[in-house]
Amino acid sequence: MAILNDSRNEQPMTISEEIGPVSRRCALKNSAIGFGWLAASALMQQMQASEAGSQTLHSPFHFAPRAKRVIFMFMKGGPSQVDTFDYKPQLNKDDGKPLPFDKPRVQFAATGNLLASPWRFRQYGESGIPVSSLFPHVARHVDDICFLNSVYGTNAAHGGAALKLHTGSDTFVRPGMGAWVNYGLGTENENLPGFITICPTLAHGGVNNWGSAFLPAECQGVPLGVASQPSTNAHVKYISNPRISSGVQRTQLDLMSRLNQLHQRAGSEESILDARIKSFELAFRMQSEMPRVQDLSKETAETHEMYGLNDKVTVDFGRQCLMARRFAEAGVRFIQVTHSDTNVQWDQHSDLKVGHEKNAAEVDRPIAALIQDLKQRGLLQDTLLLWGGEFGRTPVAQGRNGRDHNPDGFTMWMAGCGVRGGMRYGATDEYGFYAVENKMHIHDVHATMLHLLGLDHLKLTYRYAGRDFRLTDVAGNVHSAVIG
């Protein structure tokens, strides 16, 4: 195993705290072997440019980061803003009346008159932010949360909106936001991927939502399970061998290394062959690292209780959230959890009351636990929590008791890493239909998220097919008001 040096002792550029140049040697050593290093090709481009004297290779950060990592809680289907975190008293007053202004030019389905929220709102915390009775546990943390009440997108269908939310584009295959973050910052744990998505949905964009598109393959999200399966089945594909033991596999890898060594001796120095040898070693280490991080049995009974693992309502999403915390601790850069099942979970075109109540009950306690747990472990200060669906829902009724898709004004929220807690940022109109004040397009959410990670969305580019691409395409503004 002599040749199988691991590069553990190398200071990986991606976790460099300092803002300073990264050595070429270090960059080369770390390129193209692991999961999360800055793309080898991009580095090569930069280095060539730097050799030409036009550019120097800098730290991945454009400015000092506040967040080291992101946990994105995706509520598939589109939770209703007016029934959760965007309190609209006027809506209740005008229940059953027609909307006094125009509905959007393009709508997903036909809708009727205004529909009051079936839930009561109560003020919480020092900030006194109103939260509906759907989220009593999350509500206790309002002072840590910045509610983005004025988010809007452009697409009224699940597929387009989910793609827009994850990749910034609803028409073309583009890298997911986690892939961009991974591209920009890499992983902090060289035995783990930099971007993990737990129980993702395969519909509505599927892999494209966490794929790397034109970014180097190392940047893509590694899926653990799928939405249609319980989170107990959330494992990396091919992470274990169904036939042979780890010991036998070790012997096998040693044999292969020996053969590779003999093959290489005959030729000449070929770094790509070296990289391949290392990739097998990394894979082997990951086989033990991954189950270790995913093993929830080491957590205390209190933690299990807190995340709702003892309750069949909350256990599935609770497990996702607890795994997310463990991955965050282990150094994974971008972690996504998805609340969806074999249906489009939050998509209450009818029976809003039944559906949203069931959904909220499944996630409320686990999310609150995640906030609290991160906080007590000191992780909340450098973790960005992001919550939301692909769109919100209309304040007008669809059918008797449902709400249609609404991309024109909905609520996402952020917490942690110095995001201004206890704040409602932006606003929708008096019924919660259109974002009207401090409007925040999905691109703006992305720009702000990258900013918190120390990345300038205008500078985080990748040249592909002759042009520089960004997560925010040609748009995006950082909303600095949400940053404390």
Binding site: G206, A217, K237, Y238, P242, M256, S268, S279, F280
Partner: protein, 842 residues
């Protein structure tokens, strides 16, 4: 939420629309936008004719020159895209004096002398969120000041008409044609300054001549084993068999190598391998992907058409013509199989990913047309036409008008049967007469069955006491049984009714010119553009498209015109890339200004001219390239050469290639004896237009086949792991230059996937069958089958040692004695299958 008193009515009833506009557009939105191509030609005589009286007493803004010099250029730059000759949003024009005075729907934009009361000033000051112009970016303070001063000083301007020129291309056409890839093809002279020992043909002369100038010299030719492996993987995507290797090693004739190339080119597996390359370029997939991942149930016909065409060495120009306009090549004399072929070929235009649930139907259609244009441009011409959707191309001489000239052609083509969610693409019926008749015959059988049943029922009833009122329950038992049999037969017939074949593809639609979409939005329409191809790429004159035609036939003929330099250059470069791992132009899909320049421009043109001259034959092109000495060089490194040209751009050595995703799988299955070599047909498990993934996230894809990788369904958004991990294309955009990544998840796949485990144990079984008791024989067979060569002593020792170790470990793990040898050898086989030497070709 109506906008009060705006000078230009916003195009929708929502004020936030303007801000949305830049998000509503897709491809081509570049990092910054600037497109002004109207030239203001103020009549010179009027320039001098000031109207201001006593101009010396007033502010300079009161002079007519102030308007011409400051105000007009500003309006021209920022306003005229939407308020000019192409479009008049809010019925407002800001491109002439008359227009300025008369105003738009909301009245005149200016009140002379009263800047604060002028709607124009309100708009540019961004005071009201509902009225902000220009929408994408506020003017600078200086610019706002100019407008303010001018209006405040009385909005003075020259008298009479101000003439705005017709839009002209935003670049000098003649000059633009001087760019290397647009220049006409002229076959260069073959260099003579090269030692003959390095030259087996013109390709070598060009390569070595260029190399010499950098002080490099080529390697020796590779050994025979390396050569046959390289050539076989290259042409078939499979390893040579031991018999093929032995035959080549034993063939001492000077044409031995050429014989191998000819044999490989005759193999039907050649079409599978090179067909797969082509499928990369045309973003082939068996499902839509994007938002609604429904099955392209008939895409496989297009795939099989590609394999057949390539195996038949169909001339490349004809090959392309068929894919763009096959339906229009059908004449009265076309036989029915050729007709099917020609209709199937147009599947090229239909295969793209589409947003099938887009609620805005016009946007959906414009996105589909854009995908067709962009793919045609990239795949055939190396041009990124899609960049000109929202504005003039930022880097290449392609104007927005050029883009909409192309849109007209595709808009006049029928691609979509329905845009209603979930939208449906068109499929052309391709049944032969025999198939139609067989359906008819089948239908007749069913009818006959029905008649028989009816008559049996009738006669039986007539024979009973109650006559017509009898029920079947009263029938005699044997009649009941007879009826049941007849009905079962009918059911069987109905279930086996043949479906008449259809193929994804296009046909002629309603011809119409497309209008420019200002800033790429279909909600702000500009002037209509005559259908055609980009001006800079026209050959002599514009396409002659008759009113009743879409223009696709003319487009196809233009693409494949021997005078069009891009088409053959791009293709020859693609073939070169697939042989050498790097194109002579490294950016295979971009021959525009942002693409790379050719490393060997004269060589590229020499081969290209030869390719066209000899009838666009792909197989001849392979022979030309593969028989060159350059292709046959060994991949050994030399320290000196590696220092001055580490990337081997001058081609002084052979390149080391990792096998492509499909070749890895096919090769593993081939050497383990599992590969099913049958060709063609569909392997999709769901019906046409059905979901691969609906909202349930249940995975309907299945990849448990032993057929060649080419035939596994290409499911967008969920490509088979064994492929996506190893850098195969995503099937969504053209890609003639796959990357090669090395990541740990590839290792996991080769360590733990069912595919590799199944292959390893099959290979182990074969070894044990051939050599039940002879370890050394097994090792030699293993190496010969997998690596094409005998094992060295060192290697044999390593295997023997590992065998003992694994065996001991398995014993300690209580593996039953009977399974021990097979399990041990399976582990060893996997080690060799996953080794670098097998996965990398020298």
């Amino acid at each position: 939420m109506q906008v009060p008193g705006s000078i230009s009515r916003l195009p929708v009833n929502r004020p936030d629309f303007v801000a949305d506009l830049s998000f509503a557009i897709g491809r081509g939105s570049l990092l910054s936008c600037a497109s002004v191509f109207f030239s203001l030609a103020v009549l010179p005589s009027l320039l001098a004719a000031g109207t201001a009286q006593n101009s010396e007493e007033k502010s300079p803004a009161a002079n007519a020159e102030y308007f011409s010099q400051k105000v007009a250029p500003l309006l021209q730059k920022h306003c005229q895209d939407c308020h000019g000759p192409d479009a008049q949003e809010g019925q407002l024009r800001l491109d002439s004096l008359q227009a300025l005075n008369s105003g738009g729907k909301s009245g005149p934009p200016i009140v002379p002398g009263k800047a604060d009361e002028s709607l124009l000033m309100a708009a540019v000051r961004y005071k009201d969120e509902a009225l902000q112009m220009p929408p994408e970016k506020k003017l600078t303070d200086e610019e706002i000041g100019i407008l303010n001063d001018w209006i405040a000083a009385g909005a003075t301007h020259p008298e009479g008409a101000v003439v705005f020129a017709e839009p002209a291309p935003p670049f000098d056409v003649q000059q633009a044609r001087e760019f290397w890839s647009f220049k006409s093809l002229v076959q260069p002279v073959v260099p003579q300054d090269v030692p003959s020992e390095y030259v087996s043909g013109p390709i070598d002369a060009f390569i070595v001549s260029a190399m010499q100038k950098q002080g490099l010299k080529p390697n020796d030719v590779a050994d025979r084993l390396t050569l046959i492996r390289r050539a076989t993987f290259d042409l078939l995507g499979l390893p040579p068999t031991t018999e093929e290797i032995d035959a080549f090693l034993a063939d001492s004739s000077p044409t031995a190598y050429a014989t191998v190339i000819d044999r490989l080119l005759r193999s039907p597996h050649y079409g599978e391998r090179w067909g797969r390359h082509w499928l990369d370029v045309v973003r082939y997939a068996d499902s839509n992907g994007l938002d609604e991942n429904v099955a392209h149930g008939n895409a496989w016909r297009y795939r099989d058409y590609i394999v057949d065409s390539i195996n038949a060495d169909k001339p490349y120009d004809q090959f392309l013509r068929e894919q763009v306009a096959g339906d229009l090549l059908i004449t009265e004399d076309t036989d029915e199989l050729s007709r099917r072929t020609l209709l199937t070929a147009t599947g090229f235009l239909s295969l793209g990913p589409k947003v099938l649930a887009e609620a805005d139907k016009t946007k959906m259609l414009m996105d589909i047309l854009d995908e067709q244009i962009d793919t045609t441009g990239r795949a055939f011409l190396g041009m990124t036409f899609g960049c000109a959707r929202c504005h003039n191309h930022k880097f290449d001489p392609v104007s927005q008008a050029d883009y909409y000239a192309l849109v007209g052609i595709f808009k006049s083509t029928y691609t979509m049967e329905s845009l209603v969610t979930i939208a449906k693409w068109n499929e052309n019926p391709v049944a032969t007469k025999a198939e139609t008749e067989s359906l008819k015959a089948h239908q007749e059988k069913i009818d006959l069955q029905k008649t028989q049943i009816a008559s049996l029922v009738e006669t039986t009833k007539a024979s009973l006491v109650n006559g017509a009122n009898s029920t079947e329950e009263q029938f005699p038992d044997e009649v009941k049984k007879q009826l049941a049999d007849l009905r079962a037969e009918q059911k069987k017939l109905e279930e086996s009714i043949p479906e008449l074949p259809t193929a994804m593809g296009v046909k002629e639609g309603t011809p119409e010119a497309a209008r420019i979409n200002i800033r790429g939005s279909h909600l702000t329409l500009g002037r209509p553009v005559t259908r055609g191809v980009p001006v800079v790429l026209q050959l002599g004159q514009p396409l002659a498209i008759e009113e009743k035609q879409s223009g696709r036939l003319q487009l196809a003929n233009w693409i494949t015109d021997a005078r069009n330099p891009l088409t053959p250059r791009v293709f020859v470069n693609r073939v070169w890339r697939w042989h050498f791992g790097r194109g002579l132009v490294a950016s295979t899909d971009n021959f525009g200004h942002l693409g790379e320049r050719p490393s060997h421009p004269e060589l590229l043109d020499w081969i290209t001219a030869e390719f066209v001259r000899t009838g666009w034959s792909m197989k001849s092109l392979h022979r030309m390239i593969m028989l060159s000495r350059t292709y046959q060089l060994s991949s050994d490194s030399s320290q000196q050469a590696a220092q001055s040209d580490p990337a081997n751009i001058m081609l002084w050595r052979g390149n080391l290639h990792r096998l492509e995703a499909e070749a890895i799988r096919d090769s593993i299955l081939a050497v383990s004896g599992l590969l099913d070599r049958s060709m063609g047909g569909s392997m999709l498990h769901v019906k046409n237009r059905e979901f691969l993934f609906n909202h349930t996230s249940k995975d309907e894809t299945r990849y448990d086949s032993l057929r060649r990788s080419l035939y596994l369904p290409v499911i967008r958004n969920n490509i088979y792991d064994g492929f996506s991990l190893f850098d195969c294309t995503d099937g969504a955009v053209p890609n003639g230059n796959r990357s090669t990544s090395t990541v740990a998840s590839q290792a996991l796949f080769l360590m733990n996937s069912d595919m590799i485990l199944q292959a390893s144990s099959a290979l182990a079984d074969e070894l044990l069958k051939s050599h039940p008791a002879d370890t050394s024989g097994r090792i030699q067979l293993l190496f010969r089958r997998v690596l094409g060569r005998p094992a060295t002593q060192e290697e044999a020792d390593a295997i023997t040692q590992a065998a003992d170790q694994v065996s001991a470990q398995l014993v300690s793990e209580k593996v039953p004695e009977a399974e021990l040898v097979a399990r041990t050898w399976s582990v060893l086989c996997q080690g060799v299958l996953a080794s670098n030497e097998f996965i990398y070709v020298r």
